[in-house]
């Protein structure tokens, strides 16, 4: 029986899934054009054309929906489709005349077409209360609430440049929000509570102590149990201890919430990749629609859209106008939380007299 087990075969070879037009023109594409929001054509050196219709997805999808995608792909695309690195679905066609019916059918099914060019694409996000133990907020619900409002920017190409929004439900940042134009990040804001009785069974104390970036955790004997204590003033709620040891509870219904970060990017275009920087330190969780988060994101996008120049990503725009102006234009308050106090904090200080007055 053990002999029959198949292991270590890895993923199927991608060639099986490539449309014939791709196989024929692999590596020989000449240029592309965005024909309308969500629709582009890639033209090969041979003159062959590949049309792509991109549609948004909540990423958490039922197999019912996946089957529907498959059905649509069969109907219009000879069965070929792909997903993007931001979890959109891309239908791949060679017959231009099928584009409109395809769009009609997918939109009818509830999946909007767009997210291409100088637009907002899908929000890269994480598990939240749907599946993760660490989450300081839900992921899917916040994303749904925000995207409902951002849809016009998904369906049009009316922004100065690409604008990438990402969401992560805790500082682990599985959504890699740390380099996004706008990052929505769930945050814990209180030190974890320790279940001393369970701790010895569940965790190795040295690993637990080492897990804390600020050295806030110390071995301690509590009620005769070998456990740990947390120096509250040194804890900045990263939850790393909780990842290492389930007996150290970081979640807190009252004080968990959401922070907003801006100006990050990944591409090397024009300026080097950048981290996102803190815009709003804390907004309390307000499910099911997180209106304050939605409003904050919309506000930032509107101010950006009005003020940035063409091809200027969020962070490039802010660098041009300066952070003081960003706070002024958005009406966001600059607080002590905005000033870095971690390891390389000193590197963020303004070490020049070059300032706008």
């Amino acid at each position: 029986m053990a002999d029959e087990r198949i292991t270590d075969i890895g993923p199927p070879h991608y060639e099986k899934f490539l449309p014939p037009v791709v196989k024929a023109n692999y590596g020989k594409w000449d240029y592309h054009e965005i024909l309308r929001p969500g629709v582009m054509v890639h033209v090969a050196e041979s003159g062959d054309k590949l049309f792509t219709v991109r549609c948004g997805s909540p990423r958490l999808i039922a197999i019912t929906t996946v089957r529907k995608f498959a059905e649509i792909a069969d109907k219009y695309c000879d069965g070929y489709l792909r997903f993007t690195s931001r979890n959109n679905v891309e239908f791949l066609l060679t017959d231009e005349s099928k584009i409109n019916p395809l769009i009609a059918e997918i939109e009818e099914y509830g999946f909007p077409v767009g997210g291409m060019g100088n637009a907002i694409s899908n929000i890269v996000h994480t598990q939240g209360w749907v599946h993760c133990h660490s989450s300081a907020s839900d992921a899917s619900g916040v994303v749904k609430s925000v995207m409902d409002e951002l849809l016009p920017h998904f369906q049009n190409m009316d922004l100065p440049a690409k604008l990438r929004v990402a969401y992560a439900c805790c500082l682990n940042m599985c959504g890699a929000v740390h380099c996004s134009d706008i990052a929505i990040l769930g945050v814990h804001t209180r030190a974890p509570v320790i279940e001393h009785e369970n701790l010895p069974k569940m965790c190795e104390i040295p690993t637990l102590v080492a897990s804390c970036p600020t050295g806030a955790i110390r071995p301690a004997t509590v009620n005769g149990v070998n456990s740990v204590e947390i120096v509250e003033e040194q804890c900045m709620y990263c939850g790393n201890c909780y990842t290492v040891c389930p007996a150290v509870k970081i979640n807190n219904a009252k004080t968990d919430g959401i922070s907003i970060w801006v100006g990050g990017k990944v591409s090397n275009a024009r300026v080097a990749p950048k981290f996102s920087k803190l815009a709003i330190p804390f907004i309390p969780n307000n499910p099911p629609r997180w209106p304050e988060v939605v409003e904050a994101v919309l506000n930032i996008i509107n101010v950006y859209a009005e003020n940035a120049r063409k091809h200027e990503r969020m962070g490039e725009w802010i660098d041009r106008i300066g952070w003081p102006k960003f706070f002024e234009l958005t009406g966001i308050k600059f607080t002590k939380y905005h000033i870095d106090d971690f390891k390389h904090a000193g590197e963020t200080f303004t070490r020049t007299a070059q300032i706008r007055h």
Binding site: R5, Y26, S57, W129, H131, R289
Partner: protein
Amino acid sequence: MTGMKYKTPLLDELEKGPWPSFVKEMKKEAHRPMVQDALGQLERSYEEHISHWKHGGLVGVMGYGGGVIGRYSDLAEEFPAVAEFHTHRVNQPSAWFYTSDALRTLCDIWDRHGSGLTNFHGSTGDVVFLGSTTAEIEPLFADLTKAGWDLGGSGSNMRTPSCCVGPARCEWAMYDTLDACYNITQNFQDELHRPFFPYKWKFKFAGCPNDCVASIARSDCSVMGTWRDEIRVDQAKVREYAKTVDIESEICDRCPTRCIEWDGKKLEIDNPNCVKCMHCINVMPKALKPGLDRGATILIGGKAPIIGGALLCSVFVPFLEMDPESDYEDLKELTEAIWDLWGEHGKLRERVGEFIQRVGLSNFLEEIGLDPVPEMVMAPRSNPYIFFDDEIFETDGE
């Protein structure tokens, strides 16, 4: 739609609005008790503002150390169908290409063994099957592998590599991202499935510096396509673009090294000063094309904030040939040298980026056997705290 076991007035709010609703998606699979209870527990989270999942006991496939994430309800008595609600990470095909048949195969398998809820895709790139029981893990795995699929990574191992659409559809792919991703994934199956590293290791393959898989921010090793020779310019087409693009302000002024000049007729690029940022090419894709002497820049050490702060990858090899004929031997050798060193000296939960910072890049290079080159740093050191070896009295100086 199936009848609902619990009232979910809060979640129901999220069925409204134009963006596709994950709640609707969940309800599509609500014929399963597991999904009913998942909805019930989620509604509870919405009421109480807190997660009701917990981690704990390791679960997995025999002989594998990763690929399944154990998850348990802390309200198991109330929601027994999600007492266990594990995820499975299924290694996606390169660049997320599928046929409808392939998708249906995956759906059929998941239909038999789990909740019917999925993520297309997880943030690392896997197909994520969301919610199954411990009992289903092996049977699911057997069905998967029989159908030609395998699990991806989790834990302290190589994670599922991913890549951009590259040469399959993009005119800018400087090397074959799909092939490289597949080749590396297959080559390191053992490292993908059997955790033995100090912490996770992620590979991401981007065909050009646009980095459509966010490799520089989200992987320990970013293989980023680039070129060394001149940008190919079709002056006639540039003049065509000039009708709609303000070349001076949109291109010349935005070039990071200001190495482009436009006199209204001719575009001149000072190629030795071009840093291959892609911007001019992005804006005028029909007129400008990357050069033909192609390969990749290898950058290492990217990661999210835990523990020591987030890092972007940094340049490790400025230019590496990426010819599929070579079977990516250079990249594999480098990778193995790093894994050996980091495997031996890395601390528990220390990503390679943090490891390099702790031991010092120069020491790291010396151990790996790479020469230091100025491209690796934005600037030489400014602090004078140099550890001198005896050799300064022989080789250095000038």
